[in-house]
């Protein structure tokens, strides 16, 4: 085990925190406790500076300008694609498509792959723990194509129920399986390789919502066995840009998603031929500076080490889970550590999560309250909402202790 530990050199969150200007700015005179990175992560100075640098020294549209600035911007933009491709261990840089975010990546698959490859009599499989962005596109696709839609259910603990998978054994013509790598509401880590095998045995493709995994752990799309993997840069300390990885042979067979400029090779009045991968799927002017700074964010994470980030979060969430378990009136949801990513989801007896979050805000603590865009999951647990605290590389045990103090204040307020 010593080798595994060596690979996970601890990170110094207190020092990393100083890279994030917003975290260094006190709120009401108190150290800001940011526990909503699952929703969107804060940005380090390196990423903020990169955005300014692009606009100040290297900005122009990409793939168009003959002039030098255009070449500089194009080189940086395509360089960022290489960075993201390496981060995902994509076998081919042409398989990485820049998007706005995970939602756009999943919709790209639902429209371009789904509407051309799926029809009446086909089946789609997803799970009831999905974020709406990995559920509504498939539901809408099923409605529009006449395909049937089947869901894996949850165990009381909040993991995918193997029995519900067994029940789908005889479903015919399964064409697509869509699953989240990590649940944004519960922190459950799903067994993607097993689901990939299940999908591939049936000739189906596996679409993975990687929004909650890519910021926090090493991602190897080849090892996972995924066919599509969508991520959001803004959850990875980057700006508003994301990426979709897809296997080249699939992307090549797919029609485009959006059409227009950039994604064409030749246009006549009656017909058009498509550009090569990945640009076939990047119609119009992309988010240039954001995509470039997305690469900077990925480099920032890699400089810390994804294994170190994962280990740090496992430590924090194990600590947080114990601390919350020690507070009278707190009910937690999702699997207990260690099989759990950096998300704590809980309720406090007799107090609505909105009120919990409001009181915590008065203590300079940012948490999310609501259904977290997972209404079917909430319904499965007979919940309306939960309070969610999510950790990242810049959080410390002190943040968890402040959360616990804040919850005590909530209890005093609503006593």
């Amino acid at each position: 085990m010593a080798i595994a530990l060596d690979k996970r050199a601890p990170l110094d969150a207190e020092r990393l925190r100083q890279d994030f200007p917003i975290l260094m700015k006190p709120q009401d005179g108190r150290r800001l406790v940011y526990l909503d990175s699952a929703s969107s992560a804060q940005k380090p100075r390196q990423v903020i500076d990169k955005l300014a640098e692009v606009y100040e020294t290297g900005y122009a549209n990409v793939h168009r300008g003959v002039y030098r600035l255009g070449a500089i911007a194009t080189e940086a933009y395509e360089g960022s694609r290489d960075t993201v491709a390496a981060f995902l261990n994509a076998p081919d840089r042409r398989e990485v498509i820049f998007t706005r975010d995970t939602t756009e990546g999943l919709n790209l698959v639902a429209y371009a792959y789904g509407r051309s490859m799926i029809g009446p009599g086909d089946a789609i499989v997803s799970t009831e723990m999905e974020h709406h962005s990995n559920l509504v596109p498939w539901q809408f696709l099923a409605q529009q194509t006449g395909a049937t839609l089947h869901y894996l259910r949850l165990t009381p603990e909040g993991s995918l129920d193997p029995e519900s998978l067994a029940k789908l054994e005889d479903v015919e013509n399964v064409k697509l399986v869509a699953v989240g790598h990590v649940s944004n509401s519960l922190g459950t880590i799903n067994d993607v390789p097993a689901l990939a095998r299940w999908a591939h045995e049936r000739g189906a493709v596996l679409v993975v919502d990687g929004a909650q995994a890519a910021p926090h752990r090493r991602i190897d799309v080849q090892q996972l066995g995924a066919d599509f993997y969508a991520i959001s840069g803004h959850k990875m300390c980057g700006p508003g840009a994301g990426a979709l990885w897809g296997r080249a042979e699939l992307l090549e067979r797919m029609p485009p998603f959006l059409t227009g400029g950039e994604m064409i090779r030749k246009v006549e009045l009656e017909r058009t031929s498509w550009n090569d991968l990945p640009w076939k799927f990047e119609a119009g002017t992309p988010a240039i500076a954001e995509s470039i700074a997305f690469g900077t964010a990925v480099e920032y994470l890699q400089s810390i080490g994804m294994d170190a980030i994962e280990a740090h979060e496992h430590d924090l969430v194990a600590y947080g889970y114990d601390v919350l378990a020690g507070i009278d009136g707190v009910t937690q949801y999702g699997p207990p550590p260690p099989n759990r990513a950096g998300i704590l989801s809980f309720n406090l007896d007799g107090v609505h999560p909105h009120d919990v979050a409001q009181v915590l805000d008065s203590e300079a603590i940012c948490v999310r309250a609501g259904h977290h865009c997972t209404q079917p999951l909430m319904r499965a647990f007979d919940l309306v909402a939960t309070t969610r605290a999510s950790v990242y590389l810049y959080n410390t045990r002190e943040d968890i202790d402040r959360l616990a103090e804040g919850i005590e204040k909530v209890k005093r307020t609503f006593r």
Partner: protein, 141 residues
């Protein structure tokens, strides 16, 4: 910010006025806040154009439930056609605290279901911002 949960808000939240049901309501309406899943229903008893009794039922945050409780106390005895003027200003005055746009939605849920109930009584079209707040139109094939 520490004044947010003032005593009167917590009192109405913990001891909601006019909670329960009426035997024969003249109008019943319900609504949800999709943001947080708060649910609220209202029942009105009306005699000769005047609200004679009201009941609110729901589950949700302190702001949404306290606002409903407070509002219920102010509408009994008022004319139905006069209640169409009830809106943001009145609710904020009752609560006595400033609200962010997100929390304002919590407070306004009680106004929304009231408007839907009034719509049933008077037949007047709902104001645009409340249209559809009484029903969910499911998308389907």
């Amino acid at each position: 910010m520490d004044d947010f949960y003032r005593e009167n808000i917590l009192d109405h939240y913990k001891n909601p006025r006019n909670a329960g049901h009426l035997d024969a309501p003249a109008a019943t309406a319900e609504g949800v806040n999709p943001l947080c899943g708060d649910e609220l229903s209202i029942e009105l008893e009306v005699d000769d154009g005047v609200v004679t009794d009201v009941r609110y039922n729901g589950r949700g945050c302190a702001i949404s439930q306290a606002a409903a409780s407070m509002l219920s106390e102010t509408i009994v005895g008022r004319r139905v056609d006069e209640l169409s003027s009830v809106g943001k200003d009145e609710v904020l005055e009752e609560l006595g605290i400033p609200l962010s746009p997100i929390r304002l939605k919590c407070a306004m849920l009680s106004v929304g279901v009231l408007k839907v109930a009034l719509n049933q009584l008077t037949g007047e079209p709902l104001p645009e911002e409340w249209a559809g707040s009484d029903e969910i139109r499911w998308n389907s094939a």
